[in-house]
Symmetry: C2
Subunit: 552 residues, 2 copies
């Protein structure tokens, strides 16, 4: 059937199984005895004890052998006397209390040992006012955590740092097989390597119900991601219910009643994200990827021609009409009102020129503008207008790399997202940063592409600063994004397909550049996967083995 096992030592296995909180890590080697099956043979299991490993690995972490118990009734989160207070932290206290004490949706009081010291309190100190704030690219996420009985402390500039520190604290805590909740004496001094650590979800190729968007936001928080790049509309459907243009979803959603993000839904997602220190960056991709806009916004798309007659097809925003820019001004004004983040993603990728070329009015416009037959100049004209509109409504922008590749003049504070590997990622990263622009990388993190077996290693090994350039260029790399495009993904498989594979990206973007050992990362990935499962997310297994608490 599947594999030729190495000789195991069953007695040793049994002994190890009886130890507390044992995780089996089977190092899988691929051999190919058959031409088409690529049958894996697994090797001797390596047992790894669960001890509250933190993923992503903190910048500085010192764990002592001294361990404390936590009692459900005895433990509390508190504010320090001079701390700022706010709803973000209040709600995080409740969430993390539950994450520590709840198993399978039920609060499960731990066994408390009389022989061990007890940690009874974690006192939080927030330095900056945090009421009503939103996270931003400039937010501090630094924190210092000291765990020592009877009271630990967590100090941070901002509420965002507190959220990251509470996540670390909750991961340091582990539940033994005999029901105790343990944390070791620990000090952590931590901060992210990159400020932009994103996950892209595509809600156009499939509609993703709010329930799974929130599950994904939970997973993001557990892995210290801080940007939800919401690729909310595209060719297949337009599920965003616009106030200015309600027909866009009424005529462009898969179903205008059931496959829709209402204004209430969007507010809900933004608030859910804010409470987890996650920015919501919406993407309204133009001029291409706009097929679903056509029905609800007549005149917006370019009519395509066969010879001298329109053929009834439409493609891409019509760049020659003033109405196109009027529409986009109104829409971008609305986006500014709805989405609090300073950045909007404007897309700008993959524009085909065939339809523009076929249209005689566009040809005349090209002549009038002196573009000759260079349609990239027309694209540049469109994009330049959109960028200016965006600036004028008071938003900064992120664009896909083609905007720059096509020579469009962008503002100095533009963020460019690199997604192509052609000619190579390092070349493009060097080119973008060489122009003094900030870059985020997603090329190596298209997690929608799946393959049989364990594939997170390749995501782990990709480093966004791995290109030839000056230190100033390296400093312009502000992060990266794991992308889950929606061709084959919806609520049925989103979480299992994305997690824990995206945890590898999380560590690359947060931890120190020198954190590269696959062996060490494997231990953290395993525990993180089981931790997500215990917290109720169906994160998929990485290799044969088991979790202390399975998804059930």
């Amino acid at each position: 059937m599947t594999s030729t096992p190495a000789a195991h030592d069953p007695n040793k296995m049994a002994v190890l199984r009886r130890t507390q909180a044992v995780f089996s890590v089977l190092l899988v080697l691929f051999v190919s005895p058959l031409p088409c099956h690529n049958v894996p043979a697994y090797q001797k299991p390596v047992m790894v004890q669960q001890t509250g490993k933190v993923l992503p690995k903190p910048q500085m972490l010192t764990v002592s052998a001294e361990a404390y118990t936590l009692a459900m009734s005895g433990f509390k989160f508190t504010y320090g006397s001079s701390s700022q207070m706010c709803d973000i932290v209040d709600q995080a206290f409740r969430r993390y209390y539950d994450l520590i004490f709840v198993v399978d949706g039920v609060k499960k009081a731990p066994v408390v040992s009389k022989d061990m010291s007890e940690l009874t309190e974690l006192q939080i100190m927030v330095k900056e006012p945090c009421t009503g704030v939103y996270p931003s690219l400039e937010s501090s996420e630094n924190y210092t955590l000291t765990v020592a009985a009877p009271m630990g402390t967590l100090v941070a500039d901002s509420a965002w740092g507190v959220l990251r520190g509470l996540e670390t604290f909750s991961q340091l805590v582990y539940r033994t097989d005999d029901g105790m909740i343990i944390i070791n004496k620990t000090t952590v001094d931590d901060f992210p390597r990159f400020a932009h650590r994103g996950i892209l979800l595509d809600t156009s190729r499939h509609f993703i119900p709010i329930k799974y968007i929130k599950q994904n936001l939970d997973a993001m928080a557990y892995n210290k991601f801080n940007v939800f790049h919401w690729h909310i509309v595209d060719d297949p459907s337009f599920p965003y219910q616009s106030v200015a243009f309600p027909d866009l979803s009424a005529k462009g959603a898969f179903n205008p009643y059931t496959h829709l993000y209402t204004q209430e839904d969007v507010k809900d997602v933004i608030e859910y994200s804010r409470l987890r220190g996650i920015r919501v960056v919406p993407e309204f991709d133009t001029p291409g990827h706009t097929a679903s806009w056509g029905a609800g916004l007549p005149g917006f798309l370019t009519p395509c021609y066969d010879g001298s007659a329109p053929n009834g097809k439409y493609y891409a925003a019509n760049p020659m009409l003033n109405t196109t820019y009027d529409y986009m001004t109104k829409l971008l004004q609305e986006i500014k009102d709805v989405f609090p983040d300073k950045y909007v993603h404007l897309g700008g990728d993959e524009v085909s020129f065939n339809c523009w070329k076929s249209n005689p009015d566009i040809t005349k416009f090209m002549e009038k503008m002196g573009f000759g037959t260079d349609y990239s100049k027309l694209e540049e004209y469109y994009i330049k207008n959109i960028l200016d509109i965006t600036t004028s409504v008071g938003r900064d922008y992120i664009v896909w790399q083609e905007v720059l590749d096509n020579g469009v003049q962008v503002a100095k504070d533009t963020v460019v997202e690199v997604w192509k590997s052609n000619p190579s990622v390092p070349t493009e990263m060097a080119r973008v940063t060489g122009q003094g622009l900030r870059a985020i990388l997603s090329s190596c993190w298209y997690l929608n592409y799946i393959a049989y077996g364990e594939d997170w290693g390749k995501y782990y090994k990709c480093d966004p600063q791995d290109f030839s350039g000056t230190q100033a260029q390296k400093d312009l790399v502000i992060g990266g994004e794991a992308c889950m495009w929606g061709e084959y993904v919806d609520g049925t498989n989103l979480i299992a397909r994305l997690w824990p594979r995206a945890s590898a990206v999380a560590e690359r973007l947060w931890s120190n550049k020198d954190v590269t050992s696959m062996a060490d990362a494997t231990v953290r990935m395993d525990e993180q996967r089981c931790r997500m499962v215990r917290r109720g997310l169906n994160a998929e297994p990485l290799h044969p083995g088991f979790c202390q608490f399975e998804y059930d």
Copy 2:
């Protein structure tokens, strides 16, 4: 981003979107503009109306344009006056009533049109007594279904035929976007092409909670599969709680309290399967794939040697000891008592000879038996003994192809499961059936192997009778199995990964040999996927698009 779209016609799309119960089927073509991303470009969407298509396609099906409504209060399943009655059918009445009228876990009364005739009753006639029966390889699953207002009829020899007919009936029913439940005037005369239509689940490499085993049994029933091949134990763990040898799971399960199938669990699974016309064929694979047996059954495995000294490792059942056969007799006797199916799967695959070769006692035994240095004779000796024991306790057996490949003399009623593609599937199928033995095929249906994109076509195109041989040989092919080996699968991703991909195998094993059009199958696959989602299973999407009711 992801793709260069063809020019779409948004107005046409919008019109089609407004039609009732529209499914978007995007035919996906793969182009590779980038070296490493294999970015898909999707083509014009083809819209397909949901009309109650049946998967697997029945042998004979005539659907008229005449349509009837069903009312929730007005509709009932009944027994015909001369019908046999039993719990299998009683419970199926309740299940299928719910499957027709429940959406998102809530009974949702349909809108009833005064302008249409109403179907108020489906009268069932079961010819054979069905109380307390279990399905078998010889069971009739034939049925005849006539849908005509006001009363339809479903006639079958057995309760199993009724189950298949009720599934077909429930699929013919569809819910329109304006809330009506509709069924067209229809006649169906149906029977399976193959008698053995199985799904293999592996509960050793990962433990699968009973909840997901049952969800999979539901999916099997929706797709007319009739064999649950339960690969219950293997090297990594032994979750079956044996009455005769409780230490096997106590020392061989991942966790003996939480990662365990108790006798009650197994009874529960068997009864759940029986009520759905599904046989449970357990596999206790020996002599290899037994690492997890060692701790709980000391002396069962062969000690391996380095030179003249045991090296502390063990591998495979020890074929020279009488105690080995005593153990297996006791275990197989228990298996006979616990599992009602006439067949047990004995494994017999992938035996490495290295450990046996290293052991001096085995060497002496080989000499004594006159096996020379041909260890396949030793394997044959072991297997022959196990087959004889199985026969003596009153069970027939299925074995993996190696048993035959190694020249073991098997009983004439042995079923051989072909899983290798080396040298080729047709060669092996011809060889097995050429020896007059019955064959089931799984080689082309290892669904644990995943790839990016839509891959069900290759499963659909595989035909178990596609080899050179006489009609008598073809007739010895009794079916096939879709296998979901557990290296990367547990409760978190089992259903999404297996369904609807296994639906392609379902149709190949049930429908007529001539049902081969991919275009037609695509329509059925799409509707079947959305049907499973509506019934609460997280069957994953096949391509961009949407379902009337999403998984939420």
